[in-house]
């Protein structure tokens, strides 16, 4: 009896209605945070002592990498919830999180390589973090393409949920092994200066951008899941009346 409130979260109709109410507010908040963060970061933060203005790409690079990693765990947890409690909404969240994660990982990698050109002198360096993010991209692509290669969408979702969980178990091992590989093959010419404590004028815009990116992720994920709900529940009455209204 006391579990009825829990099952409400699993109802696509309830999710569709509640996100419809939250979304406008959330979207405006995201917009303002991103604008404030970008203006402060790109316009008002002091230039870095060593890297000059090129460091400002950090305001895109770090938040998108945060979300790339967090998004993978969200995807795997949603998949696990779907498998354990047999909740179709959780599978749809997992399915929609995959392409979004691909985009965030790609943005992180691209900004990283753009940043690498002026600071390290080349677009790609086989360092531990960059390589780990590249493998994370491959993991995302695997989950994405496995889910779409089944004729029956439900079994595709189950398979990619399992793959996401297997990948999550592997992520720490992959990260540690790549880290170890990097210290073994470390080229002498590149030096990584350990990040000095950031000046508050530099740090607060970054914090705003990170929160803004988290909200952006939530908004994009909600929009994608809402579209998926309409597609998959198209034969139910509430979607019909909603669309025909």
């Amino acid at each position: 009896m006391q579990w009825t409130w829990f099952h409400k979260f699993a109802s696509p109709k309830w999710f569709y209605q509640i996100t419809g109410k939250i979304l406008p507010f959330l979207a405006w908040l995201t917009f303002f945070l991103l604008v404030i963060g970008l203006v402060l970061g790109l316009g008002y933060a002091p230039a870095d002592a060593k890297q000059g203005n090129s460091f400002r790409i950090i305001y895109i690079h770090v938040p998108s990498n945060f979300l790339a990693l967090a998004g993978y765990f969200l995807m795997a947890i949603a998949g696990a919830i779907g498998l354990i409690w047999r909740i179709k909404l959780a599978f749809w969240v997992m399915k929609c999180a995959a392409p979004i994660g691909v985009v965030f990982t790609l943005v992180g990698l691209l900004t990283g390589s753009l940043w690498g050109k002026p600071t390290w002198g080349s677009f790609w360096v086989w360092d531990a973090r960059g390589t780990s993010m590249l493998i994370l991209l491959f993991l995302y692509v695997g989950v994405y393409s496995l889910g779409r290669s089944f004729h029956n969408a439900n079994s595709g979702e189950k398979a990619s949920a399992f793959l996401a969980i297997v990948g999550t178990v592997n992520i720490p091992i992959i990260y540690k092994s790549v880290d170890w590989w990097f210290t073994l093959h470390q080229p002498a010419t590149i030096k990584f200066t350990s990040a000095p404590s950031m000046h508050p004028d530099m740090f607060y815009p970054l914090l705003i951008m990170i929160v803004g990116f988290y909200l952006l992720y939530a908004v994009v994920l909600m929009l994608a899941v809402r579209a998926e709900i309409l597609l998959r529940e198209r034969k139910t009455n509430w979607v019909r009346t909603l669309v025909l209204k």
Partner: protein, 228 residues
């Protein structure tokens, strides 16, 4: 055989799969022949300068062993899926852990182990220094077992799909990263005069994790996807 007692499930599936693979002789040799051919094609594309070859030889052998095992492990459940015996295995009340482990062990003995044993001889062709051959052999024996265990997870996930070879590579290759790193490091450690047992120990610990988790994951995949 299906009614065998629990203690014998591992042995009975091991025996069955070994018999099946050795009766169809040519098919079980194909991964090995592919491995030999593709490694021996390498000098033709890289040139026969022995110094350059010596440097990349361990990496080449490891990558080619990975591809050969991946290609063969991807179809480990296909025959059983097509003739229905996989379904029979899944609907038995037994735990699937031992049967699956037996199947994977049989696959490793018949298809992956020959690759590991042949590799040092190919190393002589490339050429690799003779004292690197033992680390190569030991590393590959454990490494191919890891490849088989992980590749079987991919095989279980893609069993009902068509044209799976690229899909399988796509989902499994990122998971092979730690094995490749530690496996090839065994030889590079050896070449640099360091103690090559350290990366070997890391590789073995990955094997220990996989031996427990891989059958569990596969039985989870089969039980949740088939019984509906």
């Amino acid at each position: 055989m299906i009614f065998a007692t629990k203690e014998n499930l591992f042995i009975s599936y091991l025996k069955r799969d070994l018999v099946v693979s050795f009766r169809g002789k040519s098919a079980s040799l194909n991964p090995l022949i592919f491995f030999v051919m593709i490694v021996l094609l390498m000098p033709l594309s890289l040139g026969s300068y022995s110094l350059a070859l010596q440097k990349v030889a361990p990496g080449i052998i490891w990558i080619m062993a990975l591809l050969s095992v991946l290609l063969s492990a991807g179809s480990i459940f296909d025959e059983d899926y097509n003739d229905g015996s996989l379904e029979q295995m899944i609907i038995t009340p037994n735990l699937l852990f031992l049967p699956l482990l037996g199947k994977m062990t049989a696959h490793w003995i018949s298809k992956s182990l020959p690759i590991a044993i042949t590799a040092p001889f190919l190393g002589l062709f490339l050429p690799m220094p003779e004292n690197a051959l033992i680390p190569l052999l030991v590393g590959l024996i454990i490494g191919t077992a890891c490849f088989t265990l992980l590749g079987s997870i991919g095989a279980a996930l893609t069993v009902p799909t068509k044209d799976k070879s690229f899909l399988l590579a796509l989902i499994i290759l990122p998971l092979y990263v730690p094995i490749i790193i530690f496996g090839s490091s065994v030889i590079y450690y050896m070449a640099d005069g360091m103690n090559w047992r350290y990366p070997l120990a890391a590789l073995s610990s990955i094997f220990c994790i996989l031996v427990v988790l891989s059958p569990l994951a596969i039985s989870g995949i089969f039980r949740s996807s088939m019984i509906e």
